[in-house]
Symmetry: C2
Subunit: 289 residues, 2 copies
C-alpha cells in the first residue's frame, strides 16, 4: 500500500473511529479523513484533535471517491447509514466496521448494501474501555489488540486481505471467523460476564442494607463488578443484538448454577471442590493475549 494513498470516510468520530483515523494517519496510509456523525460538537472536537481533516456535508458526494469507509456507529444507526452510502459507494471502496456483534450487522448489510455487499468486510476490534468520545481516541489504541474479521462468502480474497492489512497497520493482531461463530464466542467470554456482573450489582442495589453490604465488599467484589460500570446503552444494544447466542449461554450458566445449588444443598463438598479445582486450573494458566 502506498503511503498517503487513501481517502478515509468515518461514520462516528468517537473512541473507535477516532483511533482508527489517528492510527492510519500515523502509519502514513491515509491522505485525508472525512467524518460524519450525529453530533456536530463531536465532529468539531474530532477536527480540532486531528482525527478529521474535514467534516462531511454530503454523503453521496464523499462516497464517490472514498477508498475506505469505517462504520464506527451503534448498530441502531447501521440501517440508515448503510442505506445512504450504498447507492453512491465507489466501486473500489471497501467498507469495514467496529461493532461488537456481527450477525446483526451482516443481516442489515445484506438488506441495505444490495449489490455492494462484497465490498463490506465486517470487523470487531477488541479494544475500548470505560472512556469514550474523540478525546479518548489515540493512535495506539489497537496496538497489540485483537481484531476479528468475519468475512462474507461474497468478499473477494483480495478485499479481505486489504481490510486485514488496514487493521494490521493500526497495530492489531487480526484473526478470522464466521459471523455466527464470532457471536457465539463473544456471548460466552464477554456478553455473558457483563450480564452477570450487572445482575449481581443490581441485586444489591435495591436492598435496604445496601450500604452495609457495599461497605464490607473487598477486592474480589471490586474486580468481579468492574464491568458493571460499563455503558448501559451500549450493553443493552449488544445484548439485544446478540440475544440468541446470549440466551444459549445464559441457559447453560443457569444449569451450572443449579448444579452448584444441588451440591450446596446436599452438603456435597467433594463436588464443590471438583468444580472449583477445574475452574482454578484453567484460570490460573490463562492471561489475556
Amino acid at each position: 500500500m502506498k503511503a498517503d494513498e487513501l481517502k478515509l470516510v468515518i461514520f462516528g468520530a468517537g473512541l473507535i473511529g477516532g483511533s482508527f483515523s489517528l492510527a492510519l494517519k500515523n502509519a502514513g496510509a491515509v491522505r485525508e479523513t472525512v467524518g460524519f456523525g450525529r453530533s456536530e460538537n463531536t465532529l468539531i472536537e474530532a477536527k480540532k484533535l486531528g482525527i478529521l481533516d474535514r467534516i462531511g456535508d454530503n454523503i453521496a458526494l464523499e462516497m464517490q471517491d472514498a477508498d475506505l469507509v469505517l462504520l464506527a456507529i451503534p448498530v441502531g444507526q447501521m440501517t440508515e447509514i448503510m442505506a445512504q452510502i450504498a447507492p453512491h459507494l465507489s466501486k473500489n471502496a471497501l467498507v469495514t466496521d467496529g461493532g461488537s456483534t456481527k450477525g446483526d450487522v451482516v443481516r442489515i448489510a445484506r438488506s441495505k448494501l444490495g449489490n455492494r455487499i462484497a465490498q463490506f468486510v465486517p470487523a470487531h476490534p477488541i479494544a475500548g474501555g470505560e472512556k469514550s468520545g474523540p478525546a479518548a481516541a489515540q493512535a495506539g489504541l489497537f496496538e497489540g489488540k485483537k481484531v476479528v474479521l468475519t468475512p462474507l462468502p461474497e468478499n473477494s480474497i483480495e478485499a479481505v486481505a486489504r481490510i486485514r492489512k488496514i487493521w494490521e497497520l493500526c497495530g492489531a493482531k487480526v484473526s478470522e471467523m464466521s459471523p455466527e461463530e464470532h457471536d457465539e464466542v463473544f456471548a460466552a467470554v464477554s456478553h455473558l460476564p457483563h450480564l452477570l456482573s450487572f445482575a449481581l450489582v443490581h441485586d444489591i442495589a435495591n436492598r435496604e442494607n445496601r450500604d452495609l453490604l457495599l461497605s464490607h465488599a473487598a477486592s474480589g467484589f471490586r474486580d468481579f463488578t468492574r464491568i458493571a460500570a460499563s455503558s448501559p446503552e451500549m450493553w443493552r444494544d449488544i445484548c439485544i443484538s446478540n440475544r440468541e447466542a446470549l440466551l444459549v449461554e445464559l441457559d447453560r450458566y443457569m444449569k451450572e448454577l443449579e448444579t452448584l445449588q444441588a451440591a450446596l444443598s446436599g452438603n456435597d463438598s467433594e463436588k464443590l471442590e471438583e468444580i472449583f479445582s477445574e475452574a482454578r486450573k484453567i484460570r490460573s494458566n490463562w492471561e489475556p493475549k
Copy 2:
C-alpha cells in the same frame, strides 16, 4: 496496654497467623509468640522468619500463662483445637480467630469451649490474597484493612474492647456485627461472587472449543474471573460453612437471572437498560474502603 506485655499463642503460622504475630511484635505488644500447627516445616519456617519465638510442644502447658490465643486454622480443625485448649486456658486469656465465616465457628465454640466461651471474641480480618504460608506474612497485612468482630452475648465489654484494641494495634479498622449478620453480608458480597466466578470458568473448562473461547477473552473476563484462581479447598470450606446464607443469596441471584432471561427473550430493551443503569449508578460511585 503495656509494651511487651503479652504472651501470644497462635494456632496456624501461615499468612494470617504470621502477619498477626509480626504486626503485634512491631507494635511492641507481644513479648513472646509460641506457635502450633499441623506442619512441622511451616513452624520451622515461621520461626526462621521471626514470626515465632518458640515452636509449641505441649498445648496444656502453653495455655496456662497465655494472654492471647489466635486460631488461624481452617474451620475443619476448630473442633479439635478448641477441645484441646478449653480445659487449660488461663482465666485471663482471650481467644480470637481469623476465619471467613462466623456462625459455624461460634457453634463449635459453644460446644467445645464450655464455660470458657466468654473468653472467645470471634473476628474476621478482611485481608489475604492469592498468596499463603509464613513467607507471605507481613507486619503490614492488616494495615488499613477491615476486621469484623462478632461478639457473643457472653463476652464482657472489657473483653471485646481488648480484642478490638489488639486488632487496631495490627493497623485494622474494626467494626462489629452479630455472627448471623456477618455471614449474611459476606455471603452476598464475597461468597456468592466467588461461586459465580468459579461457575463461569468451569462452564467453559469442559467445552471442545475452550481454547478458542479463552483466546478471545479480554480484560472484562480477566477481572470477572480473577477470583476463580482462588484456593478450591478454602472456598469449598467457606461455601459449606456458610451454606445456608449462601443458598439464600444464590436463590436471589438465580431469580435475578430469570428476570434478565425474560427481558432478553422478550426483546425488552427498556428493562435491560433499566437494570444495567441501576447497577452502573451504584457501581460507579463505589470503591472498596
